[in-house]
Symmetry: C2
Subunit: 274 residues, 2 copies
């Protein structure tokens, strides 16, 4: 049994039911003291007011989602993406978040040049390093599942995230967010988790359903799918990771449920499965 | 412009419209002299008669699909899977196929142990090596897209296929089938294609649609998606591959079309895109 001390809930888990204020309140009432914040929910109430709501509730923020997305080829569009990322870093600071989570971004509109998209993202990250360093905000690179490569993230594997971290040579400010759903299938997983020792700043949890029907919004509640969480957790903790376990379930099925019930099930599964 | 000499069509492309006999006839009438055969279509008419239909038409067979699937944990079930694979090898021989294509198989029912599933598959492949060698039938390992890992194939990347080939140390009889749809996203692709030099015995082509809606049956006609076929082809041919380009489109959209039209579009795209 796990106590609730290390449980965090990413507010995407109750995206369709709760505003930022409602999520903060709902999680706190359930005894969950940490959460990840989604940028649209924050900006809905204004970044300043949103950050105050979170801080006043004493809620720990284990991640601010989601930055990255700097794959534009054209200079002006790319520059705007960099600026947007800096704004995300500022907001993460206001929230007192552990990190700002960054994915790779999808292919630029009409582009078939994945090599260029990756190059652009790396150049963008290199530009963000000094800015993040000055703000003292860790950037956590999150590889997404390869099935959303075209539209969401050309950063697809933990091996690639490790390679990028090696290349950027900024381990003081650049880390990795590991999401079980995105990486569970990876034949190199154990080995690349070991290699990521000291870099893992966020650990996201949801399950892969054997009969998955949607490429983005059919994630499973831990225990309902095929992922061996005990083994993954062991690998992650072996690297020295002592941070939170952040449940992040993007799911049309769970978005249709009473959010109080959803949080309750998350707590049960945290205790029994994760 | 490519002439049609190296074009092959996997009969799954017209799965819902044509039987084996109709596909052989339809492809031949369109001037396409090579195809891949799907096991259910072959057995529908009986393996002996099916092989005769294909041979009498002078059709080259670039692959017989799909073997593998030896992830059962229980001894008897696993033994049955081995036997089924041997039968597939025999049928591939009857067809005069270039290879029998083998995927990894999904997780055993109710299992969350992906390591065990991979181990079982490797043990199975090791058992098949002498049988395939005696039959002189090449086994082509095909990594499938990670999104079908749970249900279809624990063999997920080209790196893993290369690692398995290294481990099996049977390059005379064990090769690799590379499918653009399954691997296009892979950050290690260029490097692992180079590493697969001499092993690539089949090259499968379909496109990744940016707005993909289904995990299995929404593959795109080459040119309709985001894959840079010219670059991939270059990488593959640089290894010395001179074999066919086998178009394999599993798609509810194309299965609803007149198959004569589908074959015609395949030919056009082969000339202009691939």
């Amino acid at each position: 049994m796990n106590d609730l001390g290390k449980l965090s809930i990413n507010q995407l888990t109750t995206r369709e039911q709760w505003s930022l204020e409602q999520a903060v309140d709902g999680y706190a009432r359930a005894g969950v003291g940490a959460m990840a914040v989604w940028w649209e929910k924050l900006r809905e109430v204004g970044a300043g007011r949103g950050a105050k709501i979170v801080r006043d509730a004493g809620m720990r923020v284990t991640g601010y989602c989601v930055a990255g997305q700097m794959t534009a080829k054209a200079g002006a569009a790319w520059r705007a993406q960099i600026d947007e990322n800096k704004r995300m870093i500022d907001e993460a600071v206001a929230l007192g978040s552990t990190c700002v989570v960054a994915i790779g971004g999808g292919l630029d509109d009409g582009s078939k040049d994945i090599t260029c998209a990756r190059q652009r993202t790396l150049e963008g990250l290199a530009e963000l390093v000094p800015y993040a360093r000055q703000a003292r905000m860790r950037i956590a690179l999150e590889p997404l599942h390869p099935m959303v490569c075209a539209t969401r993230s050309v950063l697809c594997t933990l091996q690639q995230a490790n390679d990028w971290c090696d290349g950027l040579a900024a381990d003081d400010i650049m880390g990795i967010a590991l999401d079980t759903y995105n990486v569970w299938w990876d034949p190199k997983l154990e080995q690349e988790i070991e290699r990521a020792a000291g870099r893992i700043v966020a650990y996201h949890v949801s399950d892969w359903l054997a009969d998955t029907k949607d490429l983005r919004f059919d994630r499973g509640m831990p225990g309902d799918g095929v992922i061996d969480f005990k083994r993954l957790r062991q690998w992650v903790e072996r690297t020295g990771y002592t941070g939170h376990h952040e449940v992040e379930i993007l799911s049309s099925r769970w978005w249709a449920e009473d959010p109080v019930h959803v949080v309750d099930v998350v707590k049960q599964r945290y205790a029994s499965v994760m």
